[in-house]
Each structure stands twice: as C-alpha cells, then as structure tokens.
Amino acid sequence: MVGNLYFALCALVCLLGALGCVTSKKPIRGAIGLLATIIGMAGLFLKLNAQFLAAIQLIVYAGAVVVLFVFVIMVLGPDSRTDVDGGRAQISRAFAGGLFALIAGGALVLLAKGGPTPTRLLPAPPGHGDVEAVGGQLFTQAIVPFEITTALLIAAAIGAIAIARGRAVRAPKPHGLPAGEYYHGPVRPEDAAPASKKGTPK
C-alpha cells in the first residue's frame, strides 16, 4: 500500500513536471518543470531497486544537465523567448499535440479493451542494482566496453579543445596598463595623428 502510494506520488510529480515543461511560456519555468520530471524519475528508479541509477539520474540530469539549461537561459536573459505565435510554431504545436493525442488515445482504447497482459517479472534479488552490484559488473563482466569508454572520453576532450580554441595564433589579452589609461585619450602619439588631420574643431 505504501509502495503504491509512493509510486503514485512519483508518477504525479513526473507528469505534472512534464506538463509544466511543455506548456509554460517562460523558458525558466520549463526548465524547472523538467527538473521535477527528472526527480520523479529518480524516485521511480528507487522503487525499482536501482539505487545506482537513481543517484546517477540525480547527479547527471538534475545536477548537470538542468543546471546547464538554467545557465544558458540566464545568459540569454530570462525574458528572452522565441516567436511562440508564428505560423511555424503553430504548425509544430498542432503536430506534436495531435501525435500525443493519437498515442494517448490508442493507449486508452487498448486499456479499455483489456489490452495486452502485462509481463510479470520476478522480484529482483537482494543487492540488485546497488552501487556494489553495478561496480562489480562494470569491472569484471563489462571490462572491455568500460576500457573502450576511455577512448570515447579522450576523443570528446580533444574534440572540445579543438573546437573551442579556433585558431592556432591569437592576440593576447591586453595587460600591463593600468585600467585608467584606456580612458585618457590616445596613449601613443601616432594614434592621435589621424584625428587631428580630419580637422578637429580648434
């Protein structure tokens, strides 16, 4: 009973978050809705005895991905928004809404008919899905893909540097001059020369 209540709570948080994410007009509210969905999912993972997955879900998605979203939204300004009432936005909204209605309607019809019988899975053995079990699998059974993942990470790191750096040669940041000097007219005499040629008012 308590388990069912917990499931219902998590599912409700998930659904409300998802609804808020797609319906809110302010991007920051959308991001918070996404956060709620992710936290609800982590709760559902816990219910499935997958503690490790739940922790990763919180650390990676709630901790990193959503923070990145919020960061980008804040950089752009919380009030910035795309054209939400244009023709193309209307069409894509209608398309997504129609698709959702179709799938949800289909699911409801199936349910009403008695639908496909759900597969009963055996209860998970004790210790299944906790950090020790996942770590044991990772370092014994799955050692080959685990090692190849290092190549993936190195490729990602070098690629990020290559893209971010842009050019091999660049101008250094100005330094050495006291900040005030920039605001006291031309520093070098030759900088001032062209201006005087153009005939500054005497």
């Binding site: 799955a142 080959v144 893909p145 190849i148 993942t149 190549a151 993936l152 190195i154 490729a155 990602a156 070098i158 690629g159 990020a160 540097i161 290559a162 893209i163 750096r165 842009g166 050019r167 091999a168 040669v169 660049r170 101008a171 250094p172």
Partner: protein, 512 residues
C-alpha cells in the same frame, strides 16, 4: 597470457593516438606569431610531422591486422576472452585492415591540405586515430553496448574534425548538421537496442539471434512486435551512418562543408565501419531462416533501400556543379551498391559477404584517391571544387589529371581498375541469389553514374578555363603525392590481380 599479438591492431591505434596527442601537446610550435600575437597551439606548423606519424601508426595497424589475419584467429584462443564484447574473427580483421588503410590515406592527405589552407591544427591527428579506433571497435563489436561505445567514439571525433575550420560558416553548419542528425540517429539506435533487450533479454548479438530464431515456436516468449520495432530503429540508425536515401539529407552539406580530408574519412572509414556492423548485426542476430526470407524478413526492405539510394543519388549527382558535392552524392550511390551485396546474403551468405568486403576495399582506395586528387588540384585560396576550376588541368598538369582520371574510372567501374571487380563481385553474388531485377537496376545505375564521372574527365582534358576566370594551381606536397601513389598502386594492383582480395575475403568467412 598471449593477448598482445592478436589485439595489436587495436593497441597500436590506441597507444598511437595517445603518443601523438602528447607529442602535439609538448612540442615546440613552428609558426612565428605576428607582432602582438601569441601562438596557443603547440602543434601549429607541424602538421607534416604529425601527419607522417599518424600515417605510420595507421599503416602499422593495417599491417598488423593482416599479420593477425594470416596467423588466423584460431591460433589465438585467448581472443575468446573478449567475447561477446569484441568478436575478432576474420571479417573483423579484414575490416580493420580496410579502416586503417582509409585512416592512413586521410592522415597523408591532411598533412598536405591543412597547412595549405591554413587550418594547421595538430589536434586533427589524434582525433583521426581515435576515430579509426572507434571504427575498428564498431566493426568488431559483438554486443549492442560495445556497438554504441564504438559508434560514439568514432562519431565524436569526426564531429570535431569537421568543425576545425571555425572561421567558415559552411564548416560550422556542416559540423552542427552532422552532430544533430548523428546524435538523433544514435538515440534511435539506443532505443532500438533497449527494445531488443526488452524482447529477448540479451544485448549480445548471438544471444539476440538465438532468441529471434525461436520466434514462432510454441514455447517462445519473445515478443515479435518489439523485435521488429527494435530492428527497424537499428536499421534507421545505421542507414543514417551509411547515408542511404532517405536518411542522406545531411550528407551533401556535411561532406561539402568539411575540410576535404575529413570528407575523405567520412566517405571511407565511417561508411565501411557502419556497413561492417550492419552486416554483422543482420547475419548474427537476424540470420535465421525466417528473418532472411524474402517473405517475412529484412531482405526486401534492404532491396528497396538499395534501389532508392542508387537511383536518387545518381540522378542528383549528375546535376551538381561542384565536384566535391558530386563525389558526396557518388558516395551515397555506392552505399546503394553495397546494399545489393547485403541483400544477396539471403541466399548465398558466403559469396554475398565476400562481395561486400571486397567492394568496401575497392571503394576505399578509389574514393580516397579521388578526394586526394581533388585536394591536389587546389591550392591556397583556390580550393578546386567545381567543374570550372578543373578546366584545362589535363594540359597544364598532366600528372594530377592522370591520377584523377584513374580514380574516377575506378569509381565508375571500368576495367582494369579495382572498382570494376568490386562491382562485378557484387552483381555476381546478386545473380547467384536470383536477384535479377536488382542486378539490372544496379547496372543501369552504373551507366548513369558513368556520365558524371566522365564529365570531370571531359572538363579536365577538353575544356579551357574561361578568359579571366581564376585558374586552379595544384599544390605541392610530398605527403599528398605519397597518398596518391599508394592509392593508384592499390587501384591498379587490385584491378590486375583481383583474385587475391576475393580469396582473402572468402578465407575470412570460411576460416581457411
């Protein structure tokens, strides 16, 4: 435990990439900064050395693949320890050879191209080797998890290799387009893999195969609908990577906007690896009698894909004004021919697979050569990309025009080049499988394709640049010349002694 030798093709590329990365990071830059600027890339100005190093690493990988192949996978029972993650059988070693060869061509071409066009970036070479490593892993993987890791290693490195030219809006567009669509395709594959796992309880390809083969038997609990959906999603994801129509939309823009050596790598190695894993996935996991039958299996889907791919790509390629874009469409069309070979595995599995392997080898040398010749024909500020740029090259620079002609004839499938035998084996396997109409459509498409390949030759030899138009001057680079000589040698050698690669491919499959 004697695991070092059989694993050496992977170890050489992996450690080679790390070594080159360190050399690049701790070296002394060779460019002099202008007044008021500083050099931030230690590899700047040293593309030549790094390219040579990368080519040596990748050629060593290719030679070691052949050495392990000659020793025979049966000689190293330790390799079984890596199963089911990595399956290093004869096919995987053959593919590893082709992939390393394609990577080595790319390294040599980049050594000339990058300094010439002032994208002199040392990061290119470690990325290139890591991408090749990812491709090797992908083509040898025997598990959906491994498949995904290999695919992402290869793809991430290639995304960065496209985006190196930050100043060019086209390159950024190409990188973003490939990144977004590629990620989407990877997500589809991951979803498909999850569904297959849900339906069969396995992520290793052989286990999935056993479960799929049991569908239809009374005691089977496998949900056929889920398997079908999973297979479809995986096929779509891989069709993105081999750029089969209608999943080819990104290809022309990405190929055209990328630096030409990256384009070469995408056309050659990425496509080869994707075909290798497609072949393994279909024949290992969906290789039972029902899944390979014409009535209830995947062959008609692939046949349709092959027809659409060849026809659409050839018709559009004929209308291009840019030679680089034409070669992009040509690579899509070649994916269609390879798909014919895959369909032919339904009735003659050994001959069909061997024809695909030989075709990928001949396609690699011809395409790398054609892009290399295009690189050679251009120089700083005047990259030869259009038919007009190539006008009159045949008279002014006969050697460059001659090798370009050789590679184009090989792509068109003229004897006595490698391309002719690649096509011959594909069509023979198709006829053996009684796919007559597919063979006829393939032949008709080859005729259409000959038009646009010959058009390049016509502009090189029989046209002069319009008065006042900018004239392309070929660049001078020992590395590019070396790559072209090697590719030309292989195109002619395979064309004159076609029995050897076919025997190798058949030997990989039969274990002989």
């Amino acid at each position: 435990m004697n695991l070092l030798f059989p694993l050496s093709p992977l170890l050489v590329t992996g450690f080679g990439a790390l070594l080159l990365m360190l050399t690049e990071a701790f070296g002394t830059p060779r460019v002099r900064a202008a007044a008021g600027e500083e050099v931030v890339d230690a590899g700047a100005g040293r593309s030549g050395e790094l390219a040579l190093g990368a080519a040596v690493v990748l050629l060593a990988g290719a030679v070691l693949s052949v050495a392990v192949w000659l020793a025979g996978p049966a000689a190293s029972p330790e390799l079984k320890l890596l199963e089911p993650w990595l399956v290093f059988d004869g096919v995987a070693l053959f593919m590893s050879f082709v992939l390393c060869l394609g990577g080595a061509f790319t390294a040599l071409l980049a050594g000339g191209y990058l300094p010439e066009h002032q994208i002199d970036r040392g990061e290119f070479f470690p990325l290139l080797i890591l991408a090749t490593l990812g491709a090797q892993v992908l083509s040898a993987s025997g598990d959906l998890l491994m498949l995904f890791v290999g695919l992402e290693t290869m793809s991430l490195a290639v995304y960065a290799m496209i985006g190196l030219r930050r100043g060019s809006a086209r390159a950024v567009e190409a990188a973003l387009k490939y990144f977004l669509l590629g990620s989407f395709a990877a997500a589809l594959m991951l979803f498909g893999g999850a569904l297959l796992y849900g339906a069969t309880g396995h992520t290793d390809l052989r286990g999935i195969g056993q479960a799929v083969a049991s569908i239809g038997q009374p005691e089977s609990t496998v949900n056929a609908g889920l398997v079908l959906l999973g297979l479809t999603l995986n096929l779509v994801g891989l069709a993105f990577k081999v750029s089969a129509v209608p999943f080819h939309m990104w290809t022309p823009d990405a190929y055209e906007g990328a630096p030409t050596p990256t384009t070469t790598f995408m056309a050659v190695a990425v496509k080869t690896a994707a075909f290798a894993i497609l072949m393994r996935l279909l024949l290992t996991s969906f290789g039972d009698e029902r899944a390979m039958s014409w009535g209830a299996g995947w062959p008609p889907v692939l046949a349709l894909l092959a027809i659409v791919t060849m026809t659409v790509a050839n018709l559009i390629a004929g209308r291009q004004e840019s030679v680089k874009r034409m070669l992009a469409y040509s690579s899509i069309a070649h994916a269609g021919y390879v798909l014919i070979g895959l369909v032919a595995t339904m009735r003659s599995p050994i001959e069909g697979q061997a024809s695909v392997m030989v075709y990928l080898l001949t396609y690699t040398v011809s395409t790398a050569g054609a892009f290399g010749a295009l690189i050679l024909c251009g120089s700083r500020g005047a990259e030869a990309v259009s038919y007009d740029d190539l006008a009159g090259i045949g008279r002014r620079h006969p050697a460059a025009a001659l090798v370009f002609t050789l590679f184009l004839l090989s792509l068109a499938g003229m004897p006595p080049t490698a391309g002719f035998f690649g096509k011959l084996y594909i069509f023979r396997a198709a006829i053996d499988s009684e796919l007559y109409w597919l063979t006829v459509l393939g032949l008709l498409n080859s005729l259409v394709a000959a038009y646009y390949y010959l058009r390049v030759i016509v502009s090189m030899y029989f046209r002069e640049p319009a008065p006042g138009a900018p004239v392309a001057t070929p660049m001078r680079s020992g590395l590019v010349t070396g790559a072209l000589v090697l590719a030309a040698f292989l195109v002619l050698a395979i064309g004159l002694a076609p029995a050897t690669p076919l025997a190798m491919a058949l030997g990989s499959l039969t274990g002989g």
